[in-house]
């Protein structure tokens, strides 16, 4: 098949390659050029790009020659122009025999702010009964920028417990079934068996839609937990904005002097009452807003205005699960942390995240996908903990200091990876990672594969 070209096409091609200047030539009418070489056909059958380029180049060259002849016949000084373009033919690039030496360097990012250090728990010397305290915050650079400054404190994991049995995903429930009727035993298990740094006791039974336990009565669970474990604790309400102020007030009184984290104050409730109880009984307050940095600043300011000290405030900017808005939680936290490091005094507080929310993702707990377009989701006992791990870990990368979690394996994994990123886990530097290319599996993986991935 011969390729038909119009002169205007050719001028464009020539322009592009800068072979010759044709601007002053006016060609009347259209001249058809018949190229005997069939570039299109050859290209179709050509097996390599190089071959194609050569054939195309040959074609273009032929066009150029035809045009040069036309130009010459019109009296244009073709030779001079050609000399100008072609004569100083670039010598072929000399082969490079040695690597160019180079040194990688990059400057430091400058930050002026410092995150407030907040200490949780009080030992006997400070009027409490905890056997140690835990401090978070103190960062001066973005999370895990250990090449600029060390991370002052590890990420703290506090594991959720409740003052009554509640509905939990199967993968979570199996770890707590035996202790769900006893908050003290529950707390003991998460500390002694699962190595939690802290325990959160949620007074969920106070919810008017559940048991509507009166505030005073609910504090019994707080006392049981304080008796059962000696780590610092978090006290949560039921999330009911009408009732929580009274519940948290009573709980703060019952735990007076223990420097608990009181969770939480929110703009849509009587946060003043919670703040006052927190101050009076020597606790730390959790300032909770919903994915909104401006609200977070507002609530923090209100709480400080009520007399909460800067070292007694932690923020919860809201956690959304992987696949269900995690990117909003991530960016909200990242913005808050960077604003703080750039000096926004309303936001220089440690950040806590309700990572247990990850279990709200259906991928974490459903047996299989309800959606026909999906390929299999695989066994949920593998998916669920991973959803919690990733949700928590991503927020640590954004700037979180404290993780409220549930699944023991998830809690352990987030702890381990964040400790590693802080440089607190020895080893891992001598692995011959380049050998991944020739990595071969041992036989156990095949068996595992059959169990988990191999069937559909």
């Amino acid at each position: 098949m011969a390729k038909e070209l119009k002169v205007e096409d050719i001028i464009k091609i020539l322009d592009k390659y800068g072979i010759v200047e044709l601007e002053d030539i006016e060609i009347k009418g259209d001249i058809d050029l018949d190229l005997s070489i069939s570039t299109a056909e050859a290209a179709a059958s050509a097996s390599s790009v190089a071959q194609y380029a050569q054939i195309l180049g040959q074609g273009v060259m032929q066009v150029a020659l035809v045009l040069l002849n036309i130009a010459k016949s019109m009296g244009y000084p073709v030779e001079n122009v050609l000399q100008q373009y072609i004569a100083p033919a670039a010598p072929p690039a000399p082969p490079i025999e040695e690597l160019e030496p180079a040194k990688f360097e990059v400057g430091k990012e400058e930050y002026v702010g410092k995150i407030q250090e907040v200490t949780l728990g009080a030992t006997s010397k400070d009027g409490g009964t905890r056997d140690h305290t835990i401090t978070i915050g103190g960062e001066t650079v973005p999370p895990f920028y250990t090449f600029q400054a060390p991370m002052p404190h590890p990420i703290v994991v506090t594991v959720d417990t409740f003052d009554m049995p509640i509905g939990l995903a199967k993968a979570v429930k199996m770890h707590y079934e035996d202790v769900m009727n006893d908050p003290g035993e529950w707390a003991k298990k998460v500390v002694e068996k699962y190595n939690a740094d802290m325990v959160t006791i949620h007074l969920i039974s106070t919810d008017p839609y559940l048991k509507d336990t009166p505030p005073k009565e609910a504090t019994k669970a707080v006392e049981e937990v304080l008796q059962a474990v000696k780590v610092p604790i978090v006290i949560g309400g039921s999330g009911n904005p009408e009732k929580d102020p009274a519940v948290l007030e009573a709980a703060a009184e019952a735990a007076a002097g223990e420097r608990c984290l009181i969770a939480s104050a929110n703009l849509n409730m009587d946060y003043e009452r919670i703040a006052k109880a927190t101050i009076k009984h020597g606790h730390v307050i959790l300032s909770w807003t919903q994915l909104n940095m401006t609200d977070q600043k507002t609530l923090n300011k209100h709480l400080l205005g009520l007399g909460v000290k800067r070292e007694d405030l932690i923020m919860d900017p809201t956690t959304a699960a992987l696949g269900y808005g995690l990117e909003y939680a991530f960016t909200n936290i990242e913005r808050i942390r960077l604003a703080a490091l750039k000096g926004d005094e309303d936001l220089t507080f440690p950040i806590s995240c309700g990572v247990t929310n990850a279990w709200g993702a259906r991928e974490a707990w459903m047996v299989e996908s309800p959606i026909p377009q999906d390929t299999t989701w695989g066994p949920r006992e593998l998916r669920g903990p991973l959803y919690e791990i990733i949700t928590g870990y991503v927020l640590c990368l954004a700037g979180a200091d404290m993780m409220m979690m549930m699944h023991p394996e998830a809690a352990a994994a987030v702890k381990e990876v964040t400790m590693a990123l802080m440089g607190k886990v020895e080893g891992g530097e001598d692995i011959p990672v380049a050998d991944w290319v020739t990595f071969t599996e041992d036989k156990t993986i095949g068996e595992w594969w059959n169990a988990y991935g191999g069937k559909k």
Binding site: Q290, E327, P370, G378, L386, V417, G427, I431
Partner: protein
Amino acid sequence: MKAKSPMDIYKLLPRTNCGECGENTCMAFAAKVMDRSLKIEACKPLVEEEKYKKTYEELKELTRPEIREVEIGVGDRKVVIGGQDVMRRHDLTFYNKCALFYDVWDTLDDKELEFRVKWITSWGKFYVGRVLTVDGIAVRSVSKDKEKFAECVKKVSEMAPDWPLILCSYEPSVLEGGLEVVGDKNPLVYAATKDNWREVAKLMDKYPVPLTLSAPNNLDMLKSLAVTFLKRGKEDLVLDPGTYPTGKGLQKTLSNFIRLRQAGILEGQREVAFPLMAIPMTAWMVYDDPKEASYWEAINATTFIVRYGDIMIQHSLAPHNIGTSVILDFNIYTDPRRPVAVEPGLRVIGNPNEESPLFITSNFALTYYTVESDISNSGIDCWLLVIDTDGLGVEAGVAGGQFSPDRIKDAFEKFEVEKKVKQKYKTLILPGLAARLSGDTEDATGWKVLVGCKDSGMIPRWMEDYWPPRE
């Protein structure tokens, strides 16, 4: 990009307001180029007219993303990686999501190879109105045998003809074997190192395909390789600073990724402003227990999806690995400037009649698409009232007051629910997570309220138990 405002771009445009780009004015076009929704090439006079040749070059330089874009593969499945302009997604957005590749190798028997390729290419998950997939296949030469590798690459490319490939070996002759088969399909070559770079460079002269440079935990060497290849005119490069999956190795790896990106974006160091490759599958070299290995592979993938990995190679095809990586990748690379909410309104699903239910949900995009697809897929005829929750999900909206009886009442009036939903029970169904609003919602709307399930995936089962409502 170097341009700091649309004015920087506008100054160099033809300023004729010709409209050929689809925008009314050159200023509007400049704004679109600035926010990267249009490329400078969309200005036809600029590209075509000789007199703009110089300014076109200037504009190209001015609007070039800080991190170079590299294409892998050809055709519809071609992936583009790199192209970042910012360190943080909220500073603008991240472009070209991290490309997720999964491995096969040349010592697999035919059955296993076929299984892996099929699994990789058929994996899919419905999410926010579309089906997500993975991006490509990495073929490793375990045998180090040219013929064997070529044969494996051939089989893969026959089973997955449109899929982008990475050819992985440190042996130039082995790589050549692969390139002889798929050299015309623009595969990514892995890798040139301090030991083989001369031979690989020669190979690149013959096959102009994108190339990975690898120097584990040695940024000086990585830069040295990049400078050398740039000097030879090779620009479609990907950098592999090594992925150490645990302990201090992981700490160092994250530092390397962050610092390379700082150099590229904050300091405009063009010699290292290339897409970065992470290889989470190195976790399999550390852990013997497959579950632990798969979790640590996922943890490494998470690290480098969030922090500056532009392409990665993973090993576990278990659904929990693929699923979490694909969703996280999609989430992190979602444009934060894009609205998160859908339009409130009364949606009609199927052909509802006087016995059909009326469901209420929020206008958070993720919630809406999930609920809508669950209902549609189970073939339930109904009405779905999407109320304005300022784009919050049900749980957050209930806590914050954006999912409230008042908002439901507003929606009832605005979308004429009384008039349009001719249902004989006069009963609406609240999401299970909004159970506490049921009394007030009955008062506000005058309709009876049933509390539905907590997850819309359970709606079919819920319908069996609770619908039609009992008197």
